[in-house]
């Protein structure tokens, strides 16, 4: 293992960016801005893709970006640039103020109150100093793919294996005098093998991946490759099934997508625009009483963790759903003011855009049953392992997606299925959650254990 340490430079650069931010903020003020905030982000990324044992693509880069938001009274505009030269920043400030003067006054616009700014900035275990050399990262990808090929003779081809490492820094400052910064890193391996059925030549692809903030926590390349191979092989021989209404078990990944739909429906922006199927439901039962959901911005090492949100408010752990009752929306300052509620610390900020709302670590509290026990409880039904398409209407909750997975007969996975759809309405689906599994694993910002919905329409033949 070749590892090294990053230099001591980062602290200096953070201070440099804080100074840069202060300069831009004072320039904005001189230009007529009554309030402003600024985000500076930089990072380096490395990525290697290996396919059938040789390097297919190797990418390396450093990048940086600065985003500025100004308020002139109740008018605001947002800009961004990758050019940090004096000239460019002067132009940026002037452009932003000109744009802000061109839009209409918006009563609730503005920075959060100064008193709300985060006062503590815990490290949250988001950053790993490990620097991997190129050969080590190529080796990880090669071993992951090789393990997939070695797992089963039916693995005949590959979309490749990819190892990525990235690290970056975010600095946020505003005209209240808030300055915050944090560093984070990510290490990931994904393997995408292809299995072929010898009799028909039909192919199936699947993939498995893992991502961690700290390199040392990554599972072995071999275990990731083996899991990917197993997933591709088990899809061979998939067929359609007849159209019928059955119980549906969602695996962790697909259950996570349902949770992501919930997250979208309780986001402040959809709510005040009246573009959500969960309008005016605070304090009401929206889901099965088995369902409790948290959003925790300060989980150590979490993929959505950060010490402060996109507006500088402290992140926290919010109870979103408790035993089926909706306890909290996800809000930033603007959408909160529109709804007459305080921000929940969920402002999410991409550099060139005004804040929006996003989850931090948003998860469904696990139950006690294993996935196998849940499948075992189904006489005839569907176990969904993949969903494709965009068939969700967030205004009505209507849900219709392409699916593949396994047909369950008498509590056993009988055969793989594909080219089917599942359809229902999310409002009802959350209420129809009958069992929640014990297998909660965080592989992204949103995580769910396996879960079972009592009945959905499966369309096939």
């Amino acid at each position: 293992m070749h590892q090294g340490q990053r230099g001591t430079e980062p602290a200096t650069i953070t201070n440099g960016y804080a100074q840069l931010a202060a300069d831009v903020l004072s320039r904005a003020k001189a230009c007529g801005a009554t309030e402003a905030d600024i985000v500076v982000a930089d990072g380096e990324t490395f990525s290697v893709q290996v396919r059938v044992g040789t390097v297919d693509r190797l990418t390396k880069a450093r990048e940086k970006r600065l985003g500025l938001r100004v308020f002139i009274g109740k008018r605001s505009a947002t800009t961004s640039t990758s050019d940090f030269s004096q000239d460019s920043l002067e132009r940026l400030v002037a452009d932003t103020c000109t744009l802000a003067r061109a839009v209409v006054e918006d009563d609730v616009s503005g920075l959060p109150d100064a008193a709300q700014m985060a006062t503590d900035q815990p490290s949250l275990d988001l950053y790993d100093e490990t620097v991997l050399d190129t050969e080590t990262q190529i080796d990880w990808a090669k071993r992951g793919e090789a393990a997939a090929f070695a797992t089963d003779p039916r693995i005949t081809n590959s979309e490749g294996a990819e190892f990525d490492s990235s690290s970056g820094r975010v600095v946020l400052a505003n005209s209240h005098g808030f300055v915050g910064s944090y560093k984070s890193s990510n290490f990931s391996l994904s393997v995408s093998p292809i299995a072929t059925e010898s009799t028909t030549g039909a192919m199936q692809r699947d993939a498995w991946y893992e991502v961690q903030r700290k390199f040392a926590r990554l599972a072995s390349a071999e275990s990731i490759g083996q899991e990917a191979a197993g997933r591709a092989v088990r899809r061979l021989g998939a067929r359609k099934v007849a159209t019928k209404r059955v119980p549906v078990v969602f695996d962790q990944e697909t259950a996570g997508s349902l949770l992501a739909n919930l997250c979208g429906a309780i986001s402040g922006y959809g709510l005040y625009k009246r573009a959500s199927f969960l309008l005016d439901k605070l304090g009401q039962t929206i889901a099965s009483d088995l369902m409790t959901v948290y959003d925790d911005g300060r989980m150590a090492g979490g993929f959505g963790s950060r010490p402060f949100d996109g507006e500088g408010l402290a992140t926290r752990k919010n109870t979103i759903v408790e035993r089926g009752v909706l306890q909290s929306y996800l809000l930033d300052t603007y959408s909160g003011r529109k709804l007459g509620l305080p921000s929940t610390g969920n402002a999410s900020r991409s550099v060139g855009e005004s804040p929006s709302v996003g989850p931090t670590n948003f998860y469904l509290v696990p139950g006690s049953k294993s996935a196998q026990e849940i499948i075992g409880s189904v006489k005839e039904g569907l176990y969904v392992t993949e969903l494709i398409g965009f068939g969700i209407n967030m205004v009505t909750g209507d849900y219709s997606k392409g699916a593949s997975g396994f047909w369950i007969e008498n509590g056993e996975l009988a055969y793989p299925v594909e080219e089917i759809t599942i359809a229902g309405n999310l409002k009802q689906m959350f209420k129809d959650i009958e069992v929640i599994g014990s297998d909660l694993v965080f592989r992204g910002r949103i995580a769910s254990p396996t879960l079972k919905i009592s009945e959905l329409m499966v369309a096939g033949n």
Binding site: R51, T54, V55, R57, L58, T59, K60, A61, E63, S76, A77, T78, T79, S80, T81, S82, D83, T96, L99, A100, A102, V103, V104, E105, S109, T134, I194, M203, Q204, R205, R235, A238, K240, T243, K273, R274, A275, G352, E353, S354, I388, G389, F390, G391, N393, M394, V395, T396, D398, S400, K401, G402, E419, I420, T421, A423, M457, A459, G460, N461
Partner: protein, 476 residues
């Protein structure tokens, strides 16, 4: 002809570009290029009757690439100094660990694209923010005037002005100026507890005046409002296999998902596509001829040249049901020994080139669209769609209707709620039994995602009848 784009626009001399290419010239490198890009994006958006937000972003950088056999080395930088170009070149050539090449890199000769598909002057591309604000205000008023049940209108107008230059190891230096804009409108209709959504939009590589021609923007507003109001009375969609008639235009997304991605050369070189080794074979009924055409003036998916400097072309993918061509970039055309089609595209300087579609559509057939609908006893008529997705390897694709109707005894009857349609790419076009004479291209709203990269594309379709496809509704 477009003005030639000079490297000095990026603060780089031709000599510096030449030096960087020379650094990439090691023995095992087959091809290398530098892609310079400068982009200005602007957007204004409105909701609740007021134009609340305006944003602008500028970015500039270079992507440096070397290929050796199947390998690609890639680096990018948002700094364009001589030193940064050298570092990027050294990273890119890492994949070809070999001594200096024998033959020198030819000095790039400045060319300009042979076509000018979107002749918009810079002055015309720059539109005062106040004019954009006025455009959105008119849209809001028009949508609300359409029906009092329209309770909210969300509209956004986005423009992008991109200047690119490509310097290649095969001796060319060519640039292009690529304007792009899009107007998108979403309406929410409310009637008691019933709330529904409707969307419409359009655009292309067009100037601002395009949206005012014949009050096109107001037409978009009415369409978005109409769809939202229509959906107030929509019934649940049926579930199961049935005949489906697709209207012309945007439903061409079927072609994009079902076959277009599967015909991109990279998947076929790697033999991971359900279409691998089907060239010359029947993959569609003989009424189907499908092309990918990057040369249509002002279209969202069109380009004077692709992102490797190759002129775009019109490629016949499927001719009377027989698979003819894959779409290629330089790497895949070279490795597969097949023609270069000018489909090497990238989202930006931070992304690698991939073979991608431009404007993909089916040519008009001979059937009368009315006859097509009359031929269906019980089925679905799908007029507009949201997004679609495909699994390249097993060929299964989906796309989701946002405006659809039941067909009963040859008549269009009730509107139905959106449903996902799912099928198999290599099979679906063999089930196309009728093709209308009414080819329509979409309005310029398509964005295609692949490998995490988004690029603008177009689609088109005449009215067609698919004898059977699975419709993912909730009703038996």
């Amino acid at each position: 002809m477009p003005e030639p784009v000079q490297l000095t626009k990026f603060g780089v001399t031709e000599l510096e570009a030449q030096h960087a290419l020379d650094r990439l010239n090691v023995r095992d490198v087959d091809y290398a290029d530098l892609y310079f890009e400068s982009r200005t994006s602007e957007s204004v958006s409105m909701e609740e009757g007021i134009v609340k937000r305006a944003a602008k972003s500028v970015s500039q950088g270079v992507g440096v690439r070397a290929t050796a056999g199947e390998k690609t080395g890639f680096a990018y930088s948002d700094e364009l100094t001589k030193k940064d170009l050298e570092i990027a070149a050294d990273t890119a050539r890492y994949i070809a660990n070999s001594p200096k090449g024998d033959s020198p890199v030819p000095v790039p000769t400045q060319r300009r694209p042979t076509r000018d598909l979107y002749p918009i002057e810079r002055a015309k591309a720059e539109v005062a923010t106040a004019d954009r604000v006025a455009l959105l205000n008119e849209i809001d008023a028009e949508a609300r005037r359409y029906d009092p049940r329209i309770k909210n209108v969300m509209a956004s107008f986005n423009t992008e002005y991109k200047v690119v230059a490509v310097a290649t190891s095969d001796g060319t230096l060519v640039g292009d100026i690529q304007p792009l804009s899009r107007l998108q409108i979403t309406c929410i209709a409310e009637d008691g507890d019933n709330r529904q959504v409707g969307s419409f939009g359009g655009g292309g590589r067009v100037g601002f005046e395009y949206y005012h021609e014949d009050n096109r923007h107001l037409g978009y507003a009415r369409e978005a409002a109409r769809e939202a109001i229509l959906n107030l009375s929509a019934v649940d969609a049926p579930a199961g296999v049935m005949p489906v008639v697709l209207a012309g235009g945007w439903p061409g997304i079927l072609l994009h998902e079902a076959i277009g991605h599967g015909l991109e050369a990279d998947f076929n070189r790697k033999k991971t596509s359900a279409f691998s080794s089907l060239i010359g074979k029947r993959v569609a009924s003989d009424v189907c001829t499908i092309v990918d055409d990057g040369t249509l003036p002002f279209r969202r998916g069109s380009l004077n040249m692709d992102d490797e400097g190759t002129p775009t072309s019109c490629t016949t993918l499927i001719e009377k049901g027989i698979l003819r061509r894959y779409i290629t970039d330089k790497l895949n055309a070279r490795l597969m020994g097949i023609p270069l089609t000018g489909n090497g595209r990238r989202e930006n300087y931070q992304s690698v080139v991939l073979p991608r579609m431009t404007n993909t559509f089916m040519l008009a057939g001979e059937s009368d669209p009315q006859d097509i609908i009359r031929s269906v006893k019980k089925g679905l008529y799908a007029v507009s769609f949201g997004g679609g997705q495909v699994d390249i390897t097993n060929g299964k694709f989906v796309f989701s209707a946002s405006e659809a109707y039941l067909i009963e005894d040859g008549q269009i009857t009730k509107p139905v709620k959106g449903a996902t349609l799912i099928g198999s790419g290599p099979e679906i076009l063999t089930k196309v039994s009728m093709v209308g004479h009414d080819l329509k291209l979409d309005n310029g709203i398509g964005t295609c995602g692949k490998d995490g990269q988004s690029v603008p594309v177009g689609v088109g379709l005449p009215t067609i009848k698919i004898d059977e496809i699975t419709v993912g509704g909730t009703q038996r």
